[in-house]
Amino acid sequence: MSTVQSPPSAGRLTGSAGAPSLPEGARQVTLVRVLRSEWTKLWSLRSTRWSFAVAFITMAGLGPLIAFFEMNRWNQLSLSDRLLIDPIDKSLGGHYFAQLAIGVLGVLVISGEYGTGQIRSTLLAVPKRLPVLWAKILVFSAVTFVLMIIAAFIGFFAANAIFTQHHVNVGIGAPHALRSIIGAALYVTFTGILCTALGTIVRATAGGISSFVVILFVLPPVLFLLPSSLHDSINPYLPSVAGAAVATAVPDPHTFSPWGGFALYVGYVLFAVAVAAVLLKTRDA
């Protein structure tokens, strides 16, 4: 393994005949090393800590807040309104806004490099280029998923502790509960990956953020302007609709199944990543 320090190992480079010799102990670029580098880059910026904090607080806190308000007006609600409250979906409502903070950060992870010129330093160190994209996505999505799954569990249990007052709470063993919690974290994580891909494609912060806001937040309401039959046939295929189903206990009956929809969303994300990879590899930096 090339990370071994001593004795001289396969990872150590030696100058071949004719070429200038490399410094003592010189080692080559590997994906693991680029991952370390991207980890350092991610945490050494203020915007990272802020965005993660906002996403975490929103994801963990919005559900309990919604639960608190619902319970406050419980006595004014009709029976049918009470039945419409789904404790799982209310407790995970934060994911809708958490994806905004994660999305912005996902764009910034790469667009911040283009905006400042940092990308040139990065690509001089890793001229193969693609390891940079893989490392950014792996580091960012791993951190996002860990934070979001913890926040989703906190939100779920805190909200349901409040719902308990009126006996509408559900446990973790309830149908769809665990799947929705994991699904919410997965959906937000893949939104982050989508946004890193968009940021790589447009190479600008403003353009990257507006493109993901259009895709995830503007397209769905705009689609309502279409005739309802057309709307109903297109709607399930919208990235946000397909992707969010997995984070929803009681999905819209006109959409795909939770995992089916999420698979489609992952497909969209992977397509965007593929486009980003091709452009990163072939464009002048």
Partner: protein, 307 residues
Amino acid sequence: MIEVNHVSKRYGDRVAVEDLTFTVQPGVVTGFLGPNGAGKSTTMRLILGLDRPSSGTATVAGRSYLDLRAPLHEVGAMLEARAIHTGRSARNHLLALAQTHGIPDRRVDEVIDIVGLTGVARKRVGSFSLGMGQRLGIAVALLGDPHTVILDEPANGLDPEGIRWIRTLLMELAREGRTVFLSSHLMSEIQQSAEHLIVIGRGRLIEDAPMADFVTRASADAPVRVRGPQLTALAEAILAAGAVSVEPEPEGDALRVQGLGAEQIGEAVAAERLVLYELTPLQVTLEEAFMSLTHDSIEYQPTGAAT
């Protein structure tokens, strides 16, 4: 050693670099000179694999930059436009780059010390002055202890003391046998350190010669001032002897002769039995020599009487 082989680069319709061929040898400082917009930065970006040549090849130590397995150990580069995220500290910037090659943290602190940024290493780069930014750029270039150093306008924004520091550093790197390639649009910035000169204008090679040759040629091309009572007759005699140009000086009582040495002018004038009051070989600074070399290739000429 850097080898640029028939490299051309077009951005859409604009030709940035055209059929450029030159070699940068190890062990000496090579100056890369040209007016603004001549294609110096583009050439460096092509060598460093940031841009792809439209045709031709550029190699470092015999290989394309894109094929280097440990690029920071082979080439240290500093680009003109600051290529550093302003939100990060200098140390974290270096650390992130070092980690891609498994370069130990102690080397990071070492280069910070070499460029004299120890006191501000943990400050955000956004708060740095231009000169501090340049020093950080040099630190990045030195990080992997590379055999080749490529610097785009390293003297930009530095005070005289900083320029002297860079000059000493680069000459030392060359003395250690490294290849040192630096660009500038001012001859004065590199004339004391560069031993070899590559001059381009409008993306084409104009000059590729040892600095000493350039200096000799520049002084050979220096004009000679000629004064006498019969300027018209003097001008005719000198032109007949083979001068490239003879022009009246602005003050009107003397001639400025190009392309003929003082000795030949003296002989020619004596043969015509004309009277001379003054025969003065004029000094040409290297800057002037460089300017006249690239005069035709300046992309944005001031129009009107100024030229």
